[in-house]
Subunit: 138 residues, 2 copies
DNA sequence: CCGTATCCTATCCGATACTG
DNA sequence: CAGTATCGGATAGGATACGG
């Protein structure tokens, strides 16, 4: 904990940059929200509060561990609010806070962009791969 | 290679979901662009073509390896075009393609959001951490 | 139902050394 | 200048088992 990480040491060696600085707080936040589970979960909460089990079903492929971990981070960052209802089996709901809601349009736009442009990207990949395999057959 | 990965097996077991499916191609693309280096590099190419060394300086903290790797993936996906000028030391420029340019506004919006809301997030974190450490001093 | 705890593996990624 | 190759430590993340 006392010793700096490699990334921090390298960042300090290049203090002439600011917005793109590795140690810049905004940069760390950007790292945090540039996460596939974050974008999927924020999108999954678009239509209102959802239960934990609901989310685990909606976001297919997420493990219990990553679901809980990502929700905890979002809660800590103030993007998501966690509400516990102490019923007979306990019930937990997650909802976007106003702050989280302000991020939603962006996450939704990115998700939509991916859905709309995947055919174009697939064609680009085929072209790229064909160009490297075809000509010289290395 | 013949055996499916754990993620694929789990995805197949839950075929009732589509947009959030783990095996959905759009989902994989979303995973790919939900990457900190991608968002930073696309933003760094906002104002036009940049040389390799230029990018490595602008995006502080990126290693040669990750810079090359990310640029290659972006090129393969058709988001970035690589131009080699065979001068005396060779010169390589990277530029956004029209497809990449269509993603730029979104990446820029996310970066801007992070820069604008980091104080609010920091306050939320302090509140969260204080609530867990203060009351019972576990 | 909603987690937490543990183990263990795959991959990320930085450091370093070398090439056209 | 613009890479490629390789190594090894750190970390992400899945599987499993257990607890409130």
């Amino acid at each position: 904990m006392a010793t700096r990480t490699a990334a921090e040491r390298r960042a300090e060696a290049r203090t002439e940059f600011d917005a793109y600085m590795a140690s810049c707080p905004a940069r760390r936040l950007l790292d945090g929200i540039s996460d596939k589970w974050v974008s999927l979960l924020v999108n999954a909460l678009a239509d209102g509060p959802r239960r934990y089990s609901d989310l685990s079903r909606r976001v297919a492929g997420v493990s219990q561990k990553m679901l809980t971990q990502t929700l905890r981070n979002l809660e800590r960052d103030g993007l998501v609010e966690r509400t516990v209802t102490p019923s007979v089996p306990v019930r937990v709901d997650y909802a976007l806070t106003p702050l989280g809601a302000s991020l939603l349009p962006l996450m939704r736009a990115v998700k939509t962009w991916a859905e709309e442009h995947i055919p174009e990207v697939d064609r680009a990949r085929e072209r790229y791969d064909a160009a490297r395999m075809g000509p010289d057959r290395r």
